[in-house]
Amino acid sequence: MATTTTTFDTPTPRPLIGYGPLRRLMRAPMAMVGLFIVLAFIFVGLTADWIAPHDYDLPDFSMARKGPSPGHLLGNDEIGRDMLSRLMHGARISLTIGLTSVAIGVSFGVVLGVLSGYFGGFTDLLIMRLIDIMLAFPSILLAIMMVAFLGPSLQNAMLAIGVISIPVYARLVRSSTLTIKEESFIEAARALGGSHFFILLRHILPNVVAPIIVQSTLQIAAAIQAAAALGFLGIGAPPDVPEWGNMIQKGRAYIFSAPHIVVFPGLATMFVVLGFSLLGDGLRDALDPRLK
């Protein structure tokens, strides 16, 4: 008589992070590269005071325009300040600009988008025409215009960069809201007597968070690029602030004799923008696999 043996599959260990978006994100190597760059950037930005090897603002005229050396790994700038320390402090400024302008863009853009999509009709028409007018300007030009008239300063640069991102959020949130408001749970909430405010806050907003997160990641990249552009044009941060675009502008005069002053801030900008873009793309694929 044949003996039957029953074998049991050894249960596969439960994955630590489940099968959700986070797992999809972690399986995308490019997104992980992006995440690594972003985390490194944030770390440097937060700890610049402690990890910068030198005082970022201390000139040393004997070292002016000197290239990379063991004492100053990325060389010295036009008045002998340590480039690496300045870049590290610049990371903090870029981070601040990125976050502040995204905060401005999100707060206005989301409110406008939700109101426009949810109420429709005249509200929608009015808000969307306003957004169309803002989109009539090439975005960098709108930022330049605002800073030129408000006066050049870091605050005005952040404000301008935030304002140019409002249309992106407004359109994104409006289109998501238009889809969500047709769902049956919204109808149910309304049938149960939920007020507009309650429905917007409890049912619509939580459902538009994912696209906002994705867009914000990409928007930080755009903000850092725009801030560098304004700095380069001399209408962003004040001249002595180690903002990366500013540093490139200052180093321009010595581009042929001391190219490192221009090369490193540009590389820093490029990699950080790349990091946020890769992470943003990865997040979009992870949060909404249909878009892949």
Binding site: I133, F137, I144, F149, F232, L233, I248, V262, G266, L278
Partner: protein, 314 residues
């Protein structure tokens, strides 16, 4: 379709009016008296009074705006605070240079970006695909003014050194000859080249998944014809749209490129005017670039309707 085009044209009018209002209003963001801002800080009280009367600053806003529009339509955008030259003639002198640069960049980006995208899509996940898409990502990520400066270092320092030449291969700044155009064109084109390559690849991959491509292959058509006659022609419509939209973006990007290469276009005019707080010039330059941007987008929309017979517009 005629209806669609007419409606699209009509819709552009409020947008243009709104944008003009924005530009008109911007002078009021300047701290202090708009008349002083327009006449210049060194202006005499008489001149300031004259500007005030000319612009109707004592009138209600809608009257002022109507006057502004009326003057602008007649080509009167005021006078430069710095040079006293009419803003419109200064813009007319500079605009052709910017258009030339933007058009050259658009052509360059299309003839390089599109073939790269097509080739990447036909060999997805190959080394060429990986390499070109990485380059495209870097192209989108790098600041265009920085790329301009890197090109300067390359053509004026590194290349002469490697080739043992006495001077720069290309003149780093200025205008006048075709040689002056090479670097600004490359710098301005890089970003849209990258965008077009990525867009073309995505559109081609989408089209290559369609049933009619499978049918074309199943009937034994050679791959080259499948790619170019069946896939590429269908992918071309969104690509053409992106190229059209890029032109407007290039007009904006020209501000940075022209500053780097001292290219005498409208973008450089704008940046110089910002330095001198020459507000009439700033307003004029921004208005002209913006109107150009809106009109290009409008043209692209109309072209899209014309090119794609599948799209119906109610």
């Amino acid at each position: 379709m005629i209806n669609y085009i007419i409606r699209r044209l009509l819709l552009a009018i409020p947008v243009l009016l709104g944008a003009s209002f924005f530009v008109f209003w911007s002078i009021r963001w300047v701290p202090g008296d708009p008349a002083v801002a327009i006449a210049g800080e060194l202006a005499t009280p008489e001149l300031i009074a004259q500007v005030r009367e000319q612009l109707g600053l004592d009138e209600p806003v809608h009257v002022q705006f109507s006057m502004y529009l009326f003057r602008t339509f007649q080509g009167d955008m005021g006078k430069s605070v710095k040079t006293g030259v009419p803003v419109s003639s200064e813009i007319a002198r500079r605009l052709p240079n910017t258009l030339q640069l933007a058009a050259a960049s658009l052509v360059l980006s299309a003839i390089i970006g599109i073939p790269i995208g097509v080739f990447s899509a036909t060999k997805p996940n190959s080394w060429f695909d990986g390499g070109s898409m990485t380059f495209a990502l870097l192209g989108v990520s790098m600041p265009i003014f920085w790329l301009g400066l890197m090109l300067m270092i390359f053509f004026a320092v590194l290349l002469p050194k490697w080739l043992d030449l006495p001077g720069p291969v290309l003149p780093p700044t200025g205008s006048g000859t075709w040689k002056h155009m090479v670097m600004p064109t490359i710098a301005l084109a890089a970003n849209s080249m990258a965008i077009q390559a990525r867009m073309t690849r995505a559109c081609m991959l989408e089209v290559l998944r369609q049933d009619y491509i499978r049918t074309a292959r199943a009937k034994g058509l050679i791959e080259r014809l499948v790619i170019y006659r069946h896939a590429f022609r269908n992918a071309l419509i969104p690509i053409v749209t992106v190229i059209g939209l890029q032109f407007g973006t290039l007009l904006g990007g020209a501000v940075l490129t022209e500053t780097v290469f001292a290219w005498p276009g409208i973008g450089r005019l704008l940046v110089e005017a910002i330095g001198f707080r020459d507000y009439p010039v700033i307003q004029g330059a921004i208005l002209v670039i913006t109107v150009g941007f809106v009109l290009t987008n409008l043209l692209v929309d109309v072209l899209y309707a014309y090119l794609d017979p599948r799209v119906h517009y109610d």
